[in-house]
Subunit: 330 residues, 2 copies
């Protein structure tokens, strides 16, 4: 085996691939989660929103540093937290086939602290729920879900093979909480993939040239290529991460109120939290320390300004917001 392995590994050299980087750059302002988008696409398929994507720059020693340099140069945004998300390499999903070369995209998640006007004309910050509206449960169950669920159930029902139908129903329960399942806010990608398979995502038809405007309002704004999938991956990852790592603070200004922090966490996770319990959590974990400042101007009692306590990283094994996933009613 080793022989064969080695031979093949070297074979890869004569079989090079086109590799690109994609970045999901996230910020949160005014309690809304935003991603940096650009306009992409030629005149053929029309222009559409996309994620910033760039080449793999061979000058840099690591992929991450290459990404940092490239994004910082282009957006003039200092990237705080950067994390590799996933490497996408589906032939049939990439959209562009790079003429025989296998084409890969290494996707990264980046968190930035401040939202500048995004200097460059065609880049803009967009609320990420614009692209995945069913993920926002902050105002209760999204209305659009009713319609989506109907279509999903029809899709599951449309399977002639009873085994397949059963499996589809199970997946609906698992991801969308249908058929007696519970909604798990982390399964963003699984939900998107399910919608994709069910044919409810226009991008799925994109390559075949069909235009399907009908589903736009319900299943969200499409993006170029497979970028909604990348976005879904990022959101799911971030929603998981905030529970055991204090990454939210990468999105906060130097000082903030506990309620602003809560709003940000809620924005990311797409759910609402119990206010008093949230502060208890933050206090217990020692995630923040008070400053002298207080808010003013707004209505209501002024709130104390706090700042992130970096020391918590050394004290706690997994500091974060352990928002328990909703327990199923026993």
């Amino acid at each position: 085996m080793a022989e064969e392995t080695q031979r093949q590994a070297e074979g890869a050299l004569s079989n090079p691939s086109a590799v690109g980087l994609v970045a999901v750059i996230v910020a949160a302002t005014d309690g809304e989660p935003r991603a940096l988008t650009v306009q992409v696409g030629g005149q053929a398929r029309g222009r559409s929103d996309g994620l910033p994507a760039g080449p793999l720059v061979p000058e840099h020693p690591t992929l991450e540093r290459g990404l940092r340099a490239w994004v910082e140069r282009q957006t003039h945004q200092r990237l705080g937290y950067v994390e590799q998300l996933y490497t996408f390499g589906d032939r049939d999903r990439q959209g562009d086939d790079a003429g025989g070369l296998h084409s890969l995209s290494v996707a990264y998640l980046a968190l930035v602290r401040e939202v500048r006007p995004a200097g460059l004309a065609e880049a803009s910050w967009r609320n990420w729920y614009r692209y995945l509206p069913w993920e926002d449960w902050r105002a209760g169950r999204p209305e659009s879900l009713a319609e989506i669920e109907g279509k999903l159930l029809a899709w599951a029902d449309g399977a002639t093979d009873p085994k397949l139908r059963r499996r589809r129903e199970d997946r609906l329960g698992l991801t969308f909480g249908l058929c007696g399942g519970a909604w798990n806010e982390e399964r963003v990608l699984e939900r998107y993939e399910l919608l994709f398979e069910a044919g409810l995502i226009p991008e799925a038809q994109g390559q075949s040239g069909e235009a399907r405007d009908s589903d736009l309002p319900v299943t969200g704004q499409p993006m170029a290529l497979d970028h909604r999938r990348v976005l879904a991956t990022a959101i799911g990852r971030l929603r998981g991460k905030i529970k055991y790592r204090p990454v939210v603070f990468e999105l906060m200004p130097p000082t903030f109120t506990l309620f602003q922090l809560q709003r940000t966490v809620e924005a990311l996770s797409g759910t609402n939290l119990h206010k008093q319990n949230f502060r208890r959590l933050v206090a217990q974990q020692g995630l923040v320390e008070e400053t002298d400042g207080v808010t003013s101007g707004a209505t209501g009692r002024p709130a104390r300004l706090v700042r992130f306590r970096r020391e918590v990283l050394l004290e706690r094994p997994a500091p974060g917001f352990r928002l328990r996933p909703a327990r199923r009613p026993a």
Copy 2:
């Protein structure tokens, strides 16, 4: 920005990369965690253990399916669970520079159920703690840690810049639980990287041709290229995953005893668990169901054989073994 982005993205096509796949194939037999290794390396640097690595096969629609096909063909092992781990692309760590091409490795974690003799001569199953001995705390704190810690402290102390020294000490606390920190069994990669930086990993010197045998016993058996880093990534990921996904069952035979299950979880996480509480956990989560079978032959009361309850996937949002990370003594 969009313009520039597009131009550069297309630029990537004229700047192709060599891409390979690496697999960490994990099994657990007799309560020991094992990884499939092969012998790699030419005569120049001598042969050493490595992970199975192969080319990116363009025929397959997805990376994962390519990996599955390739591994199954080579090892005759049916891969159960497969998960993408990370894409490694460090210029200075890869070992082979592929002559100007940027070279990437997409690493995967695979869990297999049974350990066949691994048919092929040069492939063999190895206890993974052979490569990362400090990660095995099942028999208490590993002895080798004393020596490792000494060297790490010396390394931290060796920083002339007091700020840097402080940072190194913090990292020691965070990863190795030194300086008042706690041991977190998930930080496998961070520990490995720290040892690497501290110069305690022979592979770090590998490229410069130095031979350092002195550290072998304490810092574990080296591997080819950067494969220990890949292994560390896999272990860390798996240790995290078992807490909220029932992936351990991919490693178990169709029926097993609760204690065998516990031994497997312990093998992966490298820690010991309270027996009674472990069964309570498993029972509460509904992870298994009883069969009619019982063990026999061994000493002591026979144990009931159980099997994995697949339905749990549909019932619980995050079924797994929530072994709480050790709380710091307040």
